[in-house]
């Protein structure tokens, strides 16, 4: 499989503040690669370096086979970008937005209108071409931004928090469209702080915190590597939790994590431990048993660091 983006010890300073602290990763052609992290984790800075709004200061970044300091137009011509804020042109209609954007890629007006209409159809907005941008809902504006990013039939699409601010239906629709794009062989690079989004879409992802990569892998692999398969959430204030709980859980082969003001018990055997809770001084009513997922990995990796 060929590599389309490769970072080696990539760093970025803003004055005295180090936003990206020497990260390395490789993104393969045709996969969906995710950057998962809090706001301010360094995800967007990394994205901006890839799509040409930020310069590489230290380390190396190779995009589509070319080592770059500031992504040049010839590379940007092969890329589509969905920036974090919806930067549609409010002075133009939806289709004019696409037409003008196609013009930036040296497409003729006719060609960009045709392609623009085709991508609007793809995004389920076939009848919205002639309306003004500000009359669209947030979700529909986001879909237009995605259509705009596709006008040049890009090999790579960079999506910086593509579904932030969308309602659940809107989010699922965007996911569905992104999966279709991936089917067509487009490489997707996305940032998100939604675990579900990362789990639904990404073939591989990195968890970022404080400018560093803490873990990398397939969402399910990460769950296997970092947490036990079952999780019991204890929904009680800390002072009501028996003091010797941690010892008892550990004696049974489980693990206890305190994070984000809550207590989580991880275990190989969910049902067995669940039955023991009353014995350990916890009422089942205040607890919740479920399988572990990506959010647990994320909380475990990033939550501890803030303590």
């Amino acid at each position: 499989m060929s590599i389309v983006v490769q970072a080696r010890n990539l760093m970025k300073y803003y004055g005295g503040f180090q936003a990206v602290k020497g990260i390395s990763f490789e993104i393969n052609k045709g996969e969906c690669f995710g950057f998962l992290g809090h706001n301010g984790a360094g995800k967007s800075t990394t994205m901006r370096m890839i799509y040409g709004l930020s310069t590489v200061q230290q380390g190396s970044l190779t995009v589509l086979g070319e080592q770059i300091t500031l992504t040049p137009p010839r590379i940007k011509a092969r890329m589509g970008v969905v920036p974090q804020e919806d930067s549609l042109d409010p002075d133009l209609t939806v289709l004019e937005n696409l037409e003008v954007y196609g013009g930036f890629f040296s497409l003729s007006a006719r060609e960009s209108r045709q392609r623009g209409q085709a991508w609007l159809n793809f995004m389920g907005l076939e009848d919205r071409g002639d309306v003004r941008v500000d009359s669209l809902s947030g979700g529909n504006q986001r879909r237009v931004v995605i259509a705009r990013a596709l006008i040049n039939h890009p090999e790579i699409v960079v999506l910086d928090e593509p579904t932030t601010g969308l309602d659940p239906q809107g989010r699922r629709l965007v996911w569905q469209k992104l999966r279709q794009l991936k089917e067509q062989g487009v490489t997707l690079i996305l940032t998100t702080h939604y675990m579900e989004e990362a789990a639904q879409l990404c073939d591989r992802l990195v968890v970022m915190n404080d400018g560093m990569i803490l873990a990398e892998g397939h969402p399910e692999e990460l769950v296997q590597q970092h947490v036990l398969p079952y999780c019991i959430e204890v929904r009680l204030p800390m002072e009501l939790i028996p003091e010797d709980l941690t010892e008892k859980v550990q004696a049974s082969g489980g693990m206890v994590e305190r994070m984000a003001d809550g207590l989580f018990i991880y275990t190989e055997e969910g049902q067995t431990v669940w039955q023991k809770l009353p014995e350990w001084g916890l009422t089942q009513r205040a607890c919740y048993l479920r399988t572990s997922h990506l959010e647990d990995v994320f909380l475990k990796l990033t939550g501890r660091r803030e303590e």
Partner: protein, 247 residues
């Protein structure tokens, strides 16, 4: 940069009518109030009526205001609020493309508004010579100077309210001491020397000479100073905007 200009012209085709009406009324009001009102008390200036004296200056000043407003408020909104400039940069364009797109657009607007005023004063019977046709190509030069000045300021400020300072501290004095309203030889000597750095002064002198048909080699220094402004400032907005757009 022509790809960026194409975007701006698409917007302009939509808004030019409302824009022009507004921009066109103001100079006409000034011209009427001052030319025919104040002008009744002024015998004549350099052998011509006061209305005739001030009219050509409004071609130049309209051009200045059009270019100035586009590259201050217009560019600032696209830079800071609409993020239009950032989204252009995600396309295969450079900062120089984006910045020169802004400058060219302001230049086109400057040309357009100047032309409208030229047509208006021609209708009022205040155009004396066919040389005035040359004002059309000439307008591009001061248009670009004012765009470069304004965009340099815009690249420098962080708050839209600061544009008021530019208008009050730079544009208004340039407008008042440009020779539109009174001949500048009434100023003290240092004032007469100082107006040479005022681009609008040169634009007014050339416009007036062409409208009146007084075409001599004395116009060349005016053109040269404007060209000099373009050369001196040509690099500055790109540099300032690079800092604003890229991180």
């Amino acid at each position: 940069m022509f790809r960026v200009l194409r975007r701006h012209m698409k917007v302009f085709r939509r808004v030019w009518w409302t824009n022009t009406m507004f921009n066109f009324l103001e100079p006409i009001l000034y011209m009427t109030a001052m030319g025919f009102g104040l002008g009744a008390y002024v015998q004549n200036i350099d052998g011509i009526s006061y209305a005739q004296f001030i009219a050509p200056g409004f071609i130049a000043s309209s051009g200045m205001w059009a270019s100035t407003f586009e590259c201050t408020y217009g560019s600032f909104v696209r830079l800071q609020f609409e993020k239009t400039l950032h989204s252009m940069l995600a396309a295969p364009l450079t900062v120089a493309d984006v910045v020169w797109g802004e400058i060219l657009y302001a230049t086109v607007k400057s040309f357009f508004y100047g032309t409208v005023i030229l047509a208006a004063i021609a209708l009022l019977g205040l155009v004396q010579s066919w040389w005035s046709i040359l004002i059309l190509p000439f307008l591009a030069l001061p248009g670009m100077v004012f765009a470069l000045l304004a965009l340099s300021f815009t690249g420098f400020i962080k708050n839209i309210d600061h544009i008021n300072y530019y208008i009050t501290i730079f544009s208004t004095p340039m407008y008042l001491f440009s020779g539109i309203f009174f001949p500048l030889d009434s100023l003290p000597l240092f004032g007469q020397a100082a107006v040479w750095i005022n681009p609008l002064y040169h634009s007014v002198e050339v416009s007036r000479a062409l409208v009146l048909g007084h075409v001599t080699s004395a116009l060349l220094p005016h053109v040269a100073v404007l060209a000099g402004w373009v050369m001196v400032l040509g690099w500055l907005p790109v540099k300032l905007m690079r800092n604003r757009l890229l991180s």
